[in-house]
């Protein structure tokens, strides 16, 4: 039997990166630097203008601390909810057929396509003090949570859906003929194959929730120590001419985003190896 080909082991494949590739790489790096790295560095630099102790003082003011804690915890909750509900919705859209499926498929993207301030207004109208359904979530943490769920709805659905469509149904049938129950098939065959997409969707939801401003600014009421999210806090700091304070909180959010993305990368690799 000939040995199996190893992926990427074709001789000379890697050494053949020509001038075109180098040019492409150069441009990509330059573009990324100008668009992403430069502004990010500027923020980190700004935050450290007052040195480590100044930075530490800025992020540990009771208000900054509270707003960051709230934002990060809410973002985690939003990511987890989306991981479950987004996967479920994607499953229903791909595997079931029911009347109104196409409408539902289009509706999924609406919260994302809507200007976020409009989303906020929509939610305030429904859950505000004059709520037509008598559910008042305005100016409460659950209100902020609902607003974040609203705008992050498509992320998990849209990352999981294409993977689920491409998923080889033969695998599930093979597992069934080997005696696996439906639950076992889902847990041991389907879920591991969806995991990278689910995690990517979760990460996107988390990042979006962390940065969300427009949809929460109306419904949260921006009550410090209660419903004020980090981006609103940053805005207020700038309004009050405390630019280093704003930059400090921004840097923390940046760090958290980076850690989450890295962690998900590690988990994805680990889940593929297993």
């Amino acid at each position: 039997m000939p040995p199996a080909p190893r992926p990427g082991s074709a001789p000379g494949q890697r050494t053949r990166a020509g001038a075109g590739t180098a040019l492409g790489l150069g441009f990509a790096t330059l573009y990324m630097s100008i668009i992403v790295l430069l502004p990010l560095s500027a923020i980190v630099w700004k935050a450290h203008q007052a040195g480590w102790s100044g930075f530490w003082a800025d992020v540990t003011t009771p208000e900054a601390w509270s707003t960051m804690k709230l934002t990060i915890l809410l973002s985690i909750a939003v990511a987890l909810t989306n991981i479950v509900m987004g996967t479920l919705i994607a499953w229903v859209l791909v595997r079931d057929s029911f009347p109104g499926k196409r409408v539902m498929d289009v509706l999924i993207d609406l919260p994302f396509a809507l200007p976020t301030i409009v989303a906020g207004l929509v939610l305030l109208t429904l859950y505000g003090p004059t709520s037509p359904i008598h559910v008042t979530l305005a100016y409460t943490r659950p209100g902020v949570f609902v607003a974040l769920l609203f705008v992050t709805l498509p992320f998990c659905v849209r990352t999981v859906q294409p993977v689920l469509i491409e998923l080889d149904r033969d695998m599930e049938e093979a597992a069934a003929s080997l005696g696996a129950s439906r639950i076992t098939i889902f847990r041991r065959i389907v879920l591991p194959n969806l995991m990278p997409a689910i995690l990517a969707g979760g990460a996107l939801s988390f990042a979006r929730a962390l940065s969300e401003y427009g949809s929460t600014v109306l419904i949260s009421g921006n009550i410090p120590f209660k419903t004020q999210v980090a981006s609103v806090h940053i805005f207020n700091q700038i309004e009050n001419d405390n630019v280093t304070g704003a930059a400090a909180v921004a840097t923390v959010l940046l760090g958290v985003s980076l850690i989450v993305l890295l962690a998900i990368g590690v988990i994805q690799r680990w889940s593929v190896r297993r």
Partner: protein
């Protein structure tokens, strides 16, 4: 009988996939379901496995009525054309899957998987992922996975369909040997008559959702039930409206009883055999002769010969309805 399929009907919308199909598959046999694509053979295999529910009829496996049983409880091994490898699991864990589901002790699983990997010559690849295997290796892994649970029957759906010609032939021989070793009742689907004749003890010819004929390779070749089976199992030509194998036609230099006059259109040499294209009463006929007889008759385009079917010529049991008043 290991598998007893009785009066199965299956429709997909307006399309009739299986039309009153009845077939018995003997214990320990190696059977091919042969036919053109869309003929219902894969559907029949999936009905036996429980992956498809028939509209009516019954499926009995080892004497138990399995018609209503889900695939999980039929204890059949199923091998798919495109391997259906669990791509997130190593080769070892793929093969172990069915045993893990059955909650066998770890030591037993390890030993059994090791044996199976040796049987399919993949013992060195236990820790690889399916993506690191060639097509042939993946299919052997899929076979080991199906055999791991000691199935009552092994069902293979176009198992070599996705492989290139060389690997296909190797695996064909290998499957035959494996079956002689393991003796599990095996049914495989193919549209390749050579593959079916080469591997199977018994061939079920299917077309249009119906069974055309069941028999050993020799029976099917020598006593085809009808025109379809005859033309599906080997080369055919039509003389005086009746099907005949091109090598069962005799060419004569002069008129003889039962022979009709023909003019040679083209003589094609294909190594040992010669393909002679004729025009008989305005219709095309082709004859397969040896190089010797071609030279003896001095065949060239434009020459006149006399052609007739040999006395031992194979004919379908039921000639086609379109036959005009024809000579034999």
């Amino acid at each position: 009988m290991a598998i007893d399929v009785s009066h199965i009907d299956k429709r997909f919308g307006d399309f009739v996939a299986l039309d009153d199909v009845t077939v018995e598959i003997a214990d320990g046999s190696l059977t091919a379901l042969l036919g053109p694509s869309g003929g219902g053979k894969s559907t029949l295999l999936r009905v036996i496995a429980g992956l498809e529910q028939p509209d009516s009829g019954t499926v009995t496996i080892n004497g138990n009525d399995a018609t209503k049983l889900p695939p999980q409880r039929r204890n059949v091994g199923f091998v798919f054309q495109h391997y259906a490898a669990f791509k997130h699991m190593s080769v070892f864990r793929n093969v172990a899957f069915g045993l893990e589901i059955r909650k066998r002790p770890k030591r037993e699983i390890k030993q059994r998987v090791q044996e199976l990997l040796e049987l399919v010559h993949l013992e060195a690849f236990a820790d690889r992922l399916p993506s690191q295997l060639s097509g042939g290796q993946r299919q052997r892994m899929a076979l080991a996975r199906a055999l791991a649970v000691q199935p009552n029957v092994l069902l293979l759906d176009e198992p070599f369909g996705a492989l290139d010609a060389q690997v296909r032939k190797e695996l064909r021989v290998w499957l035959r040997r494996l079956h002689d070793e393991v003796h599990v009742t095996t049914v495989f689907v193919t549209h390749d008559q050579e593959e079916a004749m080469d591997v199977a003890d018994e061939i079920v010819v299917m077309a249009g959702g119906r069974i055309e004929q069941i028999g050993s390779p020799d029976e099917l070749y020598e006593r085809p039930a009808n025109d379809f089976v005859m033309s599906f199992l080997g080369p055919v030509t039509r003389l005086n409206g009746r099907l005949v194998r091109p090598h069962d036609l005799e060419l004569l230099a002069s008129a003889a009883p039962g022979a009709v006059e023909a003019s040679v259109v083209r003589v094609v040499r294909l190594g040992f055999e010669v393909r002679v294209e004729l025009l008989v009463n305005g219709s095309d006929v082709w004859v397969q002769v040896t190089r010797d007889s071609s030279e003896r008759l001095e065949l060239h385009s434009g020459s006149t010969v006399y052609v007739r079917a040999s006395e031992t010529a194979i004919r379908p049991a039921v000639p086609s309805i379109a036959t005009p008043a024809a000579s034999g």
